[in-house]
């Protein structure tokens, strides 16, 4: 890997919730780093804290303790506005349930991050088309999400995550709502982005076999703790 600085550096990260009287340690003292350009899969059963960890890396949530350094900045110390800028420009995010806005066309959905980032209006159509071409959906630019299959919707979500040209793509169970064949297409697409655009990808999944085929490294979590980080055969091959 050419870049020596980690893409994301987690240092003794904890995230605790209060549920009534009990304290839930969703993430408990986790430290590891994500190398630039790698494809990391976060594995674990439900409730293991993998999604919470992803939300922390996405800047959607703040850790109770510890520090997350991404793009040279400690997310825990950023102001809410700077954290919003980080979400807008440094990371892109996709979800299990796609989270496209149903009444907007594909074009408008993909344009949304450009509006938030105050990209010039004249520049936007080109950027939207480029992002949709990455996911091979530019021919359906005027359609609404409901007119698309699940796999196509997830591809639109990927285009939306890419449109601001982030360095890091965070995926939360991207294949969870898809059949296995479609799921594989999505993961191949992500791997293509990793190799073509040099993006760093962190993907939460509970499907170990798929993760082993597509990711470079597997980080496994259980009860909020990091159990293991191992390289896959794909990772070892690189």
């Amino acid at each position: 890997m050419p870049d020596t600085q980690p893409a994301v550096q987690l240092d003794h990260i904890s995230r605790h919730y209060h549920m009534g009287e009990t304290r839930v340690r969703a993430v408990d003292d986790v430290s590891f780093s994500v190398t630039p350009g790698e494809y990391l899969a976060l594995l674990g059963s439900s409730g293991s804290g993998k999604s919470t960890l992803l939300n922390l890396m996405a800047g959607l949530d703040r850790p109770t303790a510890g520090s997350i350094v991404a793009n040279g900045a400690d997310l825990a110390a950023l102001s809410p506005l700077d954290l919003a800028r980080y979400r807008r420009n440094t990371v892109g995010m996709i979800f299990q349930s796609f989270n496209l806005l149903p009444r907007m066309t594909l074009e408008e959905n993909v344009e949304l991050p450009l509006r938030l980032a105050e990209v010039e209006r004249a520049e936007r159509p080109g950027r939207v088309r480029e992002a949709l071409e990455h996911v091979r959906l530019s021919h359906r630019i005027g359609h609404r999400p409901s007119e698309l299959s699940g796999g196509e919707q997830q591809r639109v979500a990927i285009a939306r995550a890419l449109v601001n040209r982030p360095k890091i793509l965070l995926a939360d169970e991207p294949t969870g709502n898809l059949d296995s064949a479609t799921g594989e297409t999505i993961l191949s697409l992500l791997r293509g982005l990793q190799t073509q655009l040099g993006m760093t990808i962190v993907m939460v999944t509970h499907e170990r076999p798929l993760a082993e085929r597509f990711a470079n490294r597997l980080a496994t979590m259980g009860d909020g703790k990091l159990l293991s980080v191992v390289e896959t055969t794909r990772g070892a091959a690189q």
């Binding site: 996405a58 919003a84 995010m93 938030l116 980032a117 105050e118 601001n164």
Partner: protein, 450 residues
Amino acid sequence: MRYQDLTDLALRNLREAILRNALTTLGVAVGVASLVAMLSLGVGLQQLASKRLSQSGLFDTILVTTKNTFRGMGRPQREAESTKPPRPLDEDARHELENLPNVIEVYPQVRFYTEVRFNDKPYATVVAGMPDSSRNSGGFDGMQGSFFSSATADEAILQIEFAKELSSNPNSLVGQFITLRYAERQAIPASGGDTSANAADAGGGFSVVPKELRLKIVGVVETEPAAGYGGIGNARLLMPLDTASTLRAAQVNDLRDIVRGSSSTKVTYPSLSVRAKSPSQVETLEATIKDLGFNAFSLLDASKSLRTFFSVFDLLLGIFGSLALAVATLGIVNTLVMAILERRREIGVLKALGAADSDVQRLFFVEAGVMGFFGGIFGVAFGWLLGRAITFGTNVYLKRQNLNPIDLSSVPWWLVILALVFAVAVSLIAGLYPASRAAKLNPVDALRYE
């Protein structure tokens, strides 16, 4: 996020729940409409009242007399107010007054005591010249017959009591003729045939020659308009001012001017009435005239208290109108809070894509503002219609009572702007709580929400 994008998104969101947002907007419109209707009635009534008052000549007229005049009628002479010497009220003074700013017209008071012959019987009365502008004053509304056909017609309008003296059936007098006997001034020594008032510049006195003039009675009026104010008693026979002036009837001040041996061999007026453009300019105009060296008098205080009354009246109407708008405000709050519940997920997505709290807050704010703006526009239109409807209904009623129609409501441009600004401002205030609630929404929770 830029305002153009914010507005785009806000309009799009409003369209997505078109029925609910339209109903909310309608609520604002009804609130604004009631406010506009109430205030337009207030403004309309005020305009109606001040129009009537300015027509009556009571509140926009300044009576100008010379200093040291007999016509103080017990009022103290206000010598201290000006250091300038007393000036005669002659033609020069009249032109000077006419050229003052905000002056519509200056006309002399022509009033003289004289004898009238009708059916060969003499009647004593006061004759007054009426300026042509008094045609439009409220004082001649509802008169029998008509106003003078022209400013120089040999015509007369009788006051009803006087008409009753002349005939048991006053209305039958219209169209008949009456003979005016009066004393004409003639300057000494004068070249006999001079007819111009300004030409009397020859000598140190005048002779008085009895003359007669036949006048056609064109109307009978209840009371003399602006009776008693600025006059030497109620005139019971009114004639066109220009006709009255050309008579050069001897007036009260003529003898005095002779006795004084004042410089003027020119015609002087006992008093001049100066009409201001509006009652609000009377005060400054009055002061200006006093500075010129004349006595000036007006009925300002009455119009001031009238304005106070209407301010309070407007305030009360405004409060009632605002109540409806307050209800509409709650409607906006309700709609937006509902929208937050419905759009939790969308707010979460926006935040995940990098929307700052302030972006989300402004989005809801703009949505509230847009509803307020459209509510304001429709409200002003509805309010105007409501005012027209009330005016129409009132005029139907007035017509049945055989009264003249009036313009009851008025929507001036400042009321339109005020209503729009008010509607938007109230909507933004209504949007404060929902917007901040939406901004504070935790994105992780919002995205988990199904």
